[in-house]
Symmetry: C2
Subunit: 386 residues, 2 copies
């Protein structure tokens, strides 16, 4: 049996009933956790941490030891694919990721080819296998990749950007070159995600972090078709279980209907859209994942619980097809104990909502408060739960 004991996350993605709303957090294995910082220190650098399967496994499991999360997500970087394409990924202190050889020359773009994930990205597949073994079917493991457009942003700019000058110049001046990059990258992402699935990933997510910097028309031409192409080539079923896919375009709230049409099982939404409105707009086509403002985690446990409750209530009392998450990665400045408050509130409040208790009655509100008050302190840090 390959389905995990706690399969609420997978069931929600497939819009099957769940007893409560499952929750995980983007970037849940990250710098806000002291045990993560400790492992990273031992690894020497972020990139060495990503490329060491045992350590990647260790940090993947750290948040699951602290919190009652319903899914694990592979610890890796979104730029592993362009790195495997030979662009030379490196990290300079305080400046984020950079490429030694950004894609600016026509000959380099013509020469670009999709790497064999079993060769150049073997360390990711090893991490996936090792994490699956360590999870021992407790919760499902999510594999992931950056979207072709988001990867192309980094590949062409050579670093993070505020104005996307290089890629926008290419997009408007030489769309043929950008399409070539996106096409090769889409093939690479397809192979990469399928290799993760074959290694044990039970769901996959595509992060289109920078798709929201495109105009409405450019999104339809340069991001969405490549997301669609990847979804169409993904392994749909493995060992008798569906492998659901999630597409997350940050800032894509205006384009939900068209994203819902590309064949993915779920759409990630950021906090700028009311999730109830998002649900009405996508109808029964897809599940939704989101969408608490990560800034809420700077508040008190009581406020965190109340704000999580608003997201759950807006989605709808039945909660069918909802995976709770933040609308973006968790901030490195989040107090770790606040995540306990969030996870407990999502679980307890969504159970109450499903039980038909009117969330507007004073009793229900008292119950919510009590749940929070008695949820106790965080369970402490455990550096290597695997």
């Amino acid at each position: 049996m390959t389905r995990p004991c706690n399969d609420s996350f997978l069931r929600a993605l497939l819009r099957e009933p769940t007893e409560y709303t499952p929750v995980w957090l983007m970037r849940q294995a990250g710098r806000y956790l002291p045990e993560y910082c400790e492992t990273r220190r031992r690894a020497g650098s972020f990139l060495q941490l990503c490329k060491n399967p045992a350590m990647a496994c260790e940090v993947t499991l750290q948040p699951l030891a602290r919190y009652d999360l319903d899914a694990a997500i592979l610890f890796s970087d979104i730029l592993t694919v362009p790195d495997a394409m030979g662009l030379g990924l490196y990290f300079s202190d305080g400046e984020g990721p950079r490429f030694e050889r950004p894609l600016r020359e026509e000959w380099a773009i013509r020469d670009l080819s999709a790497p064999d994930p079993w060769d150049h990205l073997r360390y990711v597949m090893d991490a996936v296998s090792e994490i699956r073994r360590a999870l021992n079917n407790s919760v499902p493991l999510i594999g992931f990749s950056g979207s072709p457009y988001t990867l192309a942003c980094y590949m062409v700019e050579g670093a993070s950007s505020t104005d996307y000058r290089c890629i926008k110049s290419m997009l408007y001046n030489r769309p043929d070159l950008l399409h070539r990059i996106l096409s090769v990258t889409a093939d690479a992402v397809s192979a990469y995600l399928n290799a993760q699935i074959e290694s044990g990933a039970q769901a996959v997510m595509i992060f289109d972090s920078w798709g929201g910097s495109l105009s409405a028309a450019a999104y339809q031409e340069f991001s969405l078709p490549y997301l669609r192409r990847i979804i169409a080539t993904l392994i749909r079923q493995r060992n008798g279980e569906r492998v659901p896919s999630i597409v997350f375009t940050k800032g894509g709230g205006l384009w939900l209907e068209s994203i819902a049409d590309i064949g993915c099982d779920a759409i990630g939404v950021d906090w700028t859209i009311d999730i109830g409105e998002a649900r009405r707009r996508v109808g029964h086509k897809v599940a939704l994942q989101g969408n608490l403002d990560p800034g809420v985690l700077f508040a008190t446990p009581e406020t965190i619980a109340a704000e999580a409750g608003k997201v759950l209530a807006s989605y709808g009392a039945d909660g069918s097809g909802h995976v709770f998450n933040l609308g973006h990665g968790i901030s490195q400045f989040t107090p770790p104990e606040n995540v306990t408050a969030l996870v407990d509130a999502v679980h307890s409040r969504s159970r109450l909502l499903r039980s038909g208790t009117d969330q507007k009655s004073p009793q229900a509100l008292d119950l919510f408060t009590e749940t929070m008050v008695t949820s106790g302190p965080p369970s402490g840090s455990s550096a290597n739960p695997g």
Copy 2:
């Protein structure tokens, strides 16, 4: 007579007919112009440039000497108001604006009061009067301010931010304190914009640059009501002429209907929404200003003309109630001659569209191309057209 010779911009904001679509560009007086850089160098610093009415007038007029723009916008900084509140604005090299005394303490927030614009912001009013004299009724002058929420972001964070950690903490933990800041700031912005109108500003624009970082619910509570309050207190008419107002929430495409309800005459829209869709959503309530991706200005004149044509066509051939603009401020890396191509294309193509020429016929497309080819080189730089 106070109406300018070229009043197409004012008429479009009031949804009166115009022969072509008027165009101006956010940050049109800026670093992409060598003559601006020269004046700024003479001024010594950005802040000294803002605070010197003669020099502010000079740079305001520079883009009008180069390009056939349909409106001028006061050259100033959005942080003049918090500076006048005593927060101590300064600019550190390469780091953008900062405040010496960010608003973090409850006593400081309680002590906050709206400055008298005729006292602490007299240099802005002097600039407005001087610009109006120099413009000599050629085109209208736009006054502007930051929105209360956007100003509060800077005031609480003390600088630009990527995660808005301080203000989000306050928003969720102490909403009362944030409401106090927003309330005082709204009063300050009202008085500031009205003083600009009394000094000669013929339209006003409120830049809610960071409103799009809020959740849907928080936008309704912490940004929109203060925009509404300002709009309600603005001088509607001066010297027998309506003074139209424009509200621009960057990233506010999801919230257009509610922005259209606050009483403003026009909404600025960024490039993530199709402007035809935006028009359908706001109906006849307001005019729209926007929304070309500023990245288009990195392309060739031919592509710039084609992309501008798409925005015009999407808005609708009649062009009624449309002011053409970028979806965000012009990049400092824009080649100045590309702005000539844009302005000429907006004027010529919108005239053709209004004349009923089918923009999809090959003839019409040829005409467009020819317009571009014969539009000629930029008119050269003139450092002080005033």
